[in-house]
């Protein structure tokens, strides 16, 4: 599938007929069918990947493994799939109060409409969070409310049909669960929750994507998304140590699966696998070496990310559990976590009541500064930027921000760390201490109003590149703004995937670096 050139895409966004440019579809939204064309959808899971999950998860959660084509009119759905979906919906309504309330309380005020990066970039009405939710809500009304049962369409109800299912597959995979819309909703309706439930229901009838299920399978099998086996995981980190020695002359000696270490360090496996994550990982290695941290990697809990979050609760729980399992096996005191957005969403909002509380661990205390991280008293897991900010505050690392004078930097708040845990000023404090030229992006695009990079929730796959570029537009646009105003040339991120997405978006415009952690360490 040919990808539209950036300049053409830009014209299409600003001038093409879309709801963002004032064009209104002739038909009501329920009469506009979802059409699958190349570039508009993520590829379904490979049959063997799907079969692999069937081995370790309850079969009914994943539907029937098969080869199917989203562009075809026959998705080879199981017999009675409508009932499977409706039963699944009922089960989830009984399980999650959030879903029930979100299904009931929307008044379609439209405050969310233009808050979604997918809507801003595509102008597709069904990317307004309100309509995304209505795709599910209409089915809910039809089958679960009195008004819907009596009045049907007049009450905004729709029976579950193949057309509706297609809409779900299209638009629940054009939402990155970034939750920006929920900041503006007067009822606090969280579209991420609706998207998650929508995806769970799709999985029940075997409608899924490979980009999510394959990393999840890898994670289940080897402990990380990349499918790195223990020796490879170790080798990769040792290569980084060689590079570090070459650059700095310092030999760092990390340990693996060492029982009795004080701290277990967990980061997304992308950090030990590919640029730019490896620079972040080199930074961690140097920093920990410099401060003399007693830590170990686990080659089994070798992944912070959790693609179960994008699949279903059971898989999320399962993948998350290995962190605690390894912490227990290695008899560490607490867990230190690297970057990554959704890893922190799972940690901060799910882990504690899903697999926790981790009573066998201790309240994290920095062995270097003695600071007790009481905010992590229950999950026993501290974010690297809190940990580093504390080190800097106590003067435990020597920093020379002048070394970064050739850079002008801005900061991209990851959606999950910003809106799910309120991690906003710790990274900014680190930034202040490692560089002299720092400029914020406009206020509507940072902190709790931060824009998604366009690649979250397992949508960072190449087959939907145009969609990703459109979704990344609001973020890229804000970066461009500070580049034009303040000659910003470096975008610092908490997550390597965010950075990846943005490189693709604005390659010509700027040089993207993700080296804030490495620099903090390298200069130590």
């Amino acid at each position: 599938m040919a990808i539209m050139k950036a300049d053409k895409l830009g014209v299409s966004v600003a001038k093409g007929p879309s709801m963002m440019t004032g064009a209104i579809p002739k038909n009501d939204w329920w009469d506009v069918p979802a059409e699958f064309k190349p570039g508009k959808y993520c590829y379904p899971a490979k049959q063997e990947i799907h079969e692999y999950h069937q081995k370790s998860l309850p079969k009914e959660l994943g539907g029937q493994p098969r080869v199917w084509d989203p562009e075809s009119d026959n998705w080879l759905l199981p017999e009675g799939w409508e009932a499977i979906i409706l039963n699944g919906l009922k089960e989830r309504l009984d399980k999650f109060r959030s879903l029930k309330i979100f299904m009931d309380c929307c008044v379609r005020c439209g405050a969310c409409a233009d808050k979604c990066h997918f809507f801003l970039g595509t102008g597709d009405p069904k990317n307004m969070p309100v309509l995304r939710a209505e795709l599910l809500r209409s089915v809910y009304r039809n089958d679960f409310t009195l008004a819907g049962k009596l009045l049907g369409k007049m009450a905004g109800g729709r029976p579950m049909t193949f057309g509706v299912l297609k809409e779900w597959f299209m638009y629940f995979y054009q939402c990155t669960e970034c939750r920006r819309c929920s900041v503006f909703c007067p009822y606090g309706i969280d579209t991420a929750e609706i998207t998650m439930m929508g995806r769970e229901l799709l999985h029940l009838v075997g409608v899924n994507t490979n980009w999510i299920l394959e990393p999840a399978a890898n994670s289940n099998r080897t402990g990380n998304h990349m499918g790195l086996q223990p020796h490879t995981f170790k080798d990769n980190i040792m290569y980084l140590c060689d590079d570090i020695e070459e650059i700095t002359g310092i030999r760092v000696e990390p340990t693996f699966n060492r029982k009795g270490a004080e701290v277990l360090f967990i980061t997304p496996s992308a950090d030990v696998f590919a640029e730019p994550g490896i620079y972040t990982a080199m930074g961690y290695l140097l920093l920990f070496h410099h401060i003399g941290l007693d830590y170990t990697f686990s080659t089994y809990a070798s992944e912070g990310g959790n693609f179960g979050l994008f699949t279903n609760n059971e898989l999320m729980k399962k993948l998350n559990a290995k962190m605690y399992a390894e912490a227990k096996r290695l008899e560490v005191k607490w867990i230190l976590g690297g970057e990554c957005g959704h890893m922190w969403r799972v940690l901060h909002q799910y882990m504690d009541t899903m697999n926790g509380p981790a009573d066998f661990l201790q309240v994290p205390t920095s062995p270097i500064t003695g600071t007790r991280f009481d905010n992590a008293a229950s999950t026993k897991m501290v974010h690297i930027s809190e940990f580093t900010a504390d080190l800097i505050k106590h003067g435990k690392v020597k920093l020379d921000p002048k070394r970064n004078d050739h850079r002008t930097v801005t900061w991209h708040d990851s959606c999950n760390t910003a809106r799910a845990m309120g991690l906003l000023d710790e990274p900014r404090y680190v930034m202040q201490n490692v560089c002299n030229n720092f400029h914020e992006m406009p206020e509507n695009t940072i902190r709790e109003s931060t824009f998604c990079c366009g690649s979250g929730t397992g949508l960072n796959t190449d087959e939907i590149m145009e969609l990703r570029m459109r979704a990344g537009l609001p973020r890229a646009n804000a970066v461009k703004y500070v580049r034009d105003r303040h000659e910003v040339d470096t975008l610092a991120c908490v997550c390597a995937i965010d950075g990846n997405a943005l490189v693709m978006e604005g390659e010509k415009e700027r040089e993207t670096g993700l080296r804030f952690e490495p620099l903090a360490g390298m200069e130590g």
Partner: protein, 289 residues
């Protein structure tokens, strides 16, 4: 169709009121039976809805937070938007429920050539939502004079304050005008803004039209087709004391039209606690301790 159907429904309700006021027994139906039925449905429906919600557990703490979390002691926490104590959560909920704080954040995005996105402040929805809800509240409280004897002091004070401009006789209440203007805004916004029109359902127009109808008939009754307030009070007070009587022939049909619209409005709509009160928001704003 999305507007026409609810419009016809509201007209039909008014017509039923008009007819019923003239036929034997109709006044009792609309003046006594329906109000009780409506009120029972309202309370019952409200309680049922909340209990239905409460039946499902909350397995995860998943609030969306805004602002800095409780972290290192020297990093300033946003104690209301990202609370870590019960008090903070309560403060956040109060601001949300009484001041519609999230709506206050509203912005409007535009795309220009480039492509360039710009975001402007957009507070009109917040402003008119606040005006609508609070003038509605004042109007409901003012009407308490019809249901209570003696009339509570705050009701009299409210009436005095609301009519302090002393225009016309009977005195003109500002909230009536604000209320109508706010409903008109909310309605026109739905009709005129193409994207809002696109997402609106009959269920969104119906309450607006209905409430508009109630307000207009109420105002007509006060200023144009003067109704016999004493007789009405006898009825309403009778309703609250469970001894309802209708003084035959003294109450003008306009009252029954209002009553009809009102009663059915409550029956049909208010079990959905979406309009008359901003419900305490869902899990998204719950405790994040």
């Amino acid at each position: 169709m999305r507007i026409l159907t609810p419009f016809i429904a509201v007209l039909a309700l008014i017509a039923v009121g008009l007819v019923a006021a003239q036929v034997p027994g109709g006044q009792a139906l609309i003046g006594i039976v329906l109000p009780y039925l409506a009120f029972a449905l309202f309370l019952g429906g409200f309680a049922y809805r909340v209990m239905q919600w409460a039946k499902s557990p909350v397995p995860f703490r998943i609030p969306t937070t805004c602002g800095q979390a409780n972290s290192l002691p020297w990093i300033k926490q946003n104690k209301i938007d990202c609370p870590s104590t019960k008090l903070g959560v309560i403060a956040r909920m109060i601001l949300e429920v009484f001041l519609f704080r999230s709506l206050f954040r509203n912005t409007k995005a535009e795309v220009h050539e480039g492509p360039k996105l710009v975001y402007g402040s957009s507070k009109f929805l917040w402003l008119f939502a606040i005006l609508f809800h609070y003038s509605f509240l004042v109007i409901v409280l003012r009407h308490m004079r019809l249901f209570m004897d003696p009339i509570p002091g705050f009701v009299a004070a409210l009436e005095f304050g609301d009519g302090f401009m002393q225009i016309g006789a009977p005195v003109f209440y500002q909230t009536n005008a604000i209320f109508l203007a706010a409903i008109a805004f909310l309605f026109l916004r739905r009709v005129m803004l193409s994207n809002i029109r696109y997402i609106s359902l009959p269920a969104d127009y119906f309450p607006l039209l209905l409430i508009f109808g109630i307000a207009v008939t109420g105002i007509l009754m006060r200023y144009v087709f003067r109704a016999d307030v004493v007789a009405i009070k006898q009825l309403t007070h009778g309703l609250t004391t469970f001894a309802p009587t209708i003084a035959a022939g003294q109450i003008s049909p306009i009252f029954f039209i209002l009553q009809q619209a009102d009663a059915h409005g409550r029956c049909l709509h208010e079990p959905h606690p979406e309009h008359d009160q901003q419900q305490p928001d869902g899990p998204a704003h719950q405790s994040v301790e």
